[in-house]
Amino acid sequence: MDEDRRKFLKLAGVAALGIGSASLVKTVNGKERRSGKFPQALEGKRWAMVIDLAKCQEHEGCTLCMNACNQVHNIPHFDDPRHEIKWIWKEPFENALPNQEEDFLEQGVSKGPAVVLCNHCERPPCVRVCPTQATFKREDGIVMMDMHRCIGCRYCIVACPYGSRSFNWQDPHLGLGDINPGYPTRMRGVVEKCIFCEERLAKGKLPACVEACPYGALTFGDLDDPGSKVRKLLKSRYAVRRKVELGTRPGVFYLV
C-alpha cells in the first residue's frame, strides 16, 4: 500500500499538469472542483478474460487466484453454504458449462473444474432488472456494483443466469480475518460480485486473480484491441462461453 502511495504522489505531479488524465469539472455548492484519472490507469473498450482450462487443471486443488481475490477485496468466509460470498471460485465443468461437455471429451478438460466469476456480460440481465441503477455497465464493459446505492432487493441475483452474485445475508465482519485497509468492507444487506478489479485497473494494475496465477492460466485484456493478448489467444485456440444461447454475450472465455 505504501509503495502505491509513493508512486501515486510522484505521479500526482504529472497528473496536476493534466498530462494523460481526463479531467472533468463538477460543482459542489457553487464551487468548481476538478477531477481526473490516474495517468497510469489501464483503459480499455471491452475488458475480457480468457481462462486456459488445461493449464488451470494441471494444478489440482490450486486456489491462488481465489485467495488473492478474497484477500484483496475483504471477502468473508462463512461455513453455511447459504451465506457464502464468492467473487471467483471453482465449479465442476458440467455445472459451469452445461451441455458443452460431450464435445470436448478428448481434451479431457470437461472432467476437471472450471474457474467461474462474473462474466461482465455485454448485455447484462442484472443491469436490466436493477431498480436503482446500483449495478450498471461502464463504458469499458465492466459491470459495476455501487454498494452505496444498492437496496438489497436481490432482483439482480434472481436475474443472473450464472449464479455470480452474492448477498450479504449477515454482517460480513463476522467472517473476516485480516482486513486489507486498501479496500472497503461491506455491511449486511447489500449485493456484491466480481468487478474485474476496476479499482486496480484505475491504478495501472491487472486484476488480482490474474496477477496471482503463476501458471498464466488467466489472461486479461481488451477485446476491442486486435493486438491484445486475449484477442491473440482467441484467434489461435477454440474457446467457449457460458450459456451463450441466452444472448448475454459473456466477457469471460474458456479455452478448451
Binding site: P81, R82, V129, P131, T132, I151, G152, R154, Y162, Q170
Partner: protein, 388 residues
C-alpha cells in the same frame, strides 16, 4: 366513520387484540431481522427470494381480483353486487398494503427504499411494480372512500369518481401482469420464462381473491346482521369456477410445452416440483396437496348443487384458496430457483423468524380488513335497522 372501528363488542375486541399480539410478534422479529440481516430467514445465495416474495406475489393477485366484483357492478350494472363491491375493494386495499410490507421486509436495506424513486429506472420491472401497486392502492382507497361516504349520506357518488373507477379496472389487470413480468422476463430462469405466466397469474388470482371474498361474506353473514346477498355470493362461486378452470388449463399448457419439448432446463424444474430429485423433494407433498384440493374444490364449484349451497360453497372456496396459496405462495417462486443456475438441487425451508414476520404482516392485513369491514357494516346495519 373511522370511529366505528373503535367501538365494538367483546368478541370484536378479543379478535383485534389477538391480531395486535401477532403483529407485535412480527414487529419484534422484524427488528431482530433488521439488526441481524436476512440471514435469519431460510433464503440463501441459491434461493435469493423466498417466502416473503411469494406472499407478495400471491397477495398482488388478491388485490387485483377486486376487479371481479367491481367490473360487473360498474361496467355491466350488475346490481346483485351492489352490497358486495365495497367489501371487495376493502380486501384489495388491505392486500395492497400487505404486498408493500412484504416487499419492505424482504429488502436488505429498507432504509434506502427511496432510492427507487430517487433513481427511477424504467427498464426495471421492480420499479414499475412499485409504481403500479402504489397507484392501485391510492385508486382503490379514493374510490372506496368516496362511494361509501356517498352511500352513507344517501346521495349518488360524485361524477368525478367515474373515470377513476373505470381506470381501476385495467389497472387491476396491470398490477398482476407486471408482477408476472417480474418473473417471466428473465432468460436465466426457464421455469418462469413463459408467456402464459401472466394469464396464469390472473386466472389463479381471479379464483383466489373471490374465494376470499366469499369466505369473508359468509363470516359477515354469520356474525352480523348485514347480508351481502345470497345471490351475490353464488355469483362469485361461478366466477371462481371459471377462473379455476382457466388456471388448471394454463397449468396444463405449461406442463405440455415444458415436458413434450423435453428441453432439459424445463423438465428439471417440473421434475423437482412434482417428483423431487436426488433426495430433494421439499415441494412434492405441497404441490400434490395443492393439486388435490384444487381439483376437489373445482368439482364442487362446477356441480350446481354444491355451488349453490352456501356451506358447501364456503368449503369449496376454502379449498380453492388454500390450493392456490400453496401453488403461488409456496411453490411457484421457489421452483424457479431449483435447480440453481449452476445445476444444483437443494430444498428451501422457511425459518421460524421468517414465518413470524409473515404472520405479522398477514395479521396487519386482517386487522385492516376487520376495521374497514366493521365501519362498513356498522353503517349499513344502521341503515337497515334504524334505531338499533
Amino acid at each position: 366513520m373511522i370511529e366505528y372501528a373503535f367501538k365494538g363488542s367483546k368478541r370484536y375486541w378479543s379478535w383485534v387484540i389477538i391480531l395486535l399480539l401477532i403483529i407485535g410478534a412480527g414487529v419484534g422479529t422484524g427488528v431482530y431481522q433488521w439488526f441481524k440481516g436476512l440471514g435469519i430467514t431460510g433464503m440463501g445465495r441459491d434461493i435469493p427470494w423466498g417466502f416473503y416474495i411469494a406472499q407478495f406475489t400471491f397477495l398482488v393477485g388478491v388485490a387485483a381480483s377486486a376487479v371481479m366484483v367491481v367490473l360487473p357492478y360498474y361496467l355491466h350494472h350488475y346490481k346483485t353486487f351492489a352490497r358486495m363491491t365495497v367489501l371487495g375493494e376493502f380486501v384489495a386495499i388491505a392486500a395492497c398494503i400487505m404486498c408493500m410490507t412484504f416487499i419492505f421486509v424482504d429488502m436488505g436495506r429498507p432504509d434506502r427504499i427511496l432510492n427507487v424513486f430517487l433513481h427511477p429506472t424504467p427498464n426495471s420491472l421492480m420499479f414499475w411494480d412499485t409504481v403500479v401497486l402504489f397507484g392501485y392502492l391510492v385508486l382503490n382507497s379514493v374510490i372506496a372512500w368516496t362511494t361509501f361516504r356517498a352511500e352513507r349520506q344517501d346521495i349518488t357518488p360524485p361524477r368525478w369518481i367515474k373515470p377513476f373507477i373505470y381506470l381501476s379496472i385495467p389497472w387491476a389487470f396491470s398490477i398482476h401482469t407486471v408482477t408476472a413480468f417480474l418473473y417471466s422476463g428473465l432468460e436465466g430462469r426457464p421455469f418462469w420464462m413463459s408467456a402464459i405466466l401472466a394469464p396464469r397469474f390472473l386466472a389463479s388470482a381471479f379464483a383466489a381473491g373471490p374465494a376470499l371474498v366469499v369466505v369473508a361474506c359468509l363470516i359477515v353473514r354469520k356474525y352480523t346482521r348485514y347480508d351481502p346477498g345470497v345471490d351475490a355470493i353464488r355469483a362469485l362461486g361461478k366466477v371462481i369456477a371459471y377462473a379455476m378452470t382457466a388456471n388448471f388449463f394454463f397449468i396444463g399448457l405449461e406442463l405440455f410445452t415444458g415436458l413434450y419439448s423435453d428441453i432439459p432446463h424445463h423438465v428439471h424444474h417440473f421434475e423437482y416440483l412434482f417428483l423431487g430429485h436426488g433426495g430433494h423433494a421439499g415441494l412434492v407433498p405441497w404441490i400434490w396437496t395443492s393439486v388435490l384440493l384444487g381439483l376437489i374444490g373445482l368439482v364442487m364449484l362446477i356441480v350446481p348443487k354444491t355451488r349453490n349451497n352456501l356451506s358447501t360453497l364456503g368449503f369449496a372456496s376454502v379449498l380453492v384458496f388454500v390450493s392456490l396459496w400453496i401453488d403461488k405462495g409456496m411453490a411457484m417462486v421457489i421452483v424457479g430457483f431449483i435447480p440453481t443456475p449452476l445445476g444444483y438441487y437443494l430444498d428451501y425451508h422457511p425459518t421460524l423468524p421468517e414465518l413470524t414476520i409473515s404472520a405479522g404482516v398477514y395479521a396487519m392485513g386482517l386487522l385492516i380488513i376487520t376495521a374497514l369491514y366493521k365501519m362498513a357494516i356498522t353503517v349499513r346495519e344502521r341503515d337497515l335497522y334504524p334505531g338499533g
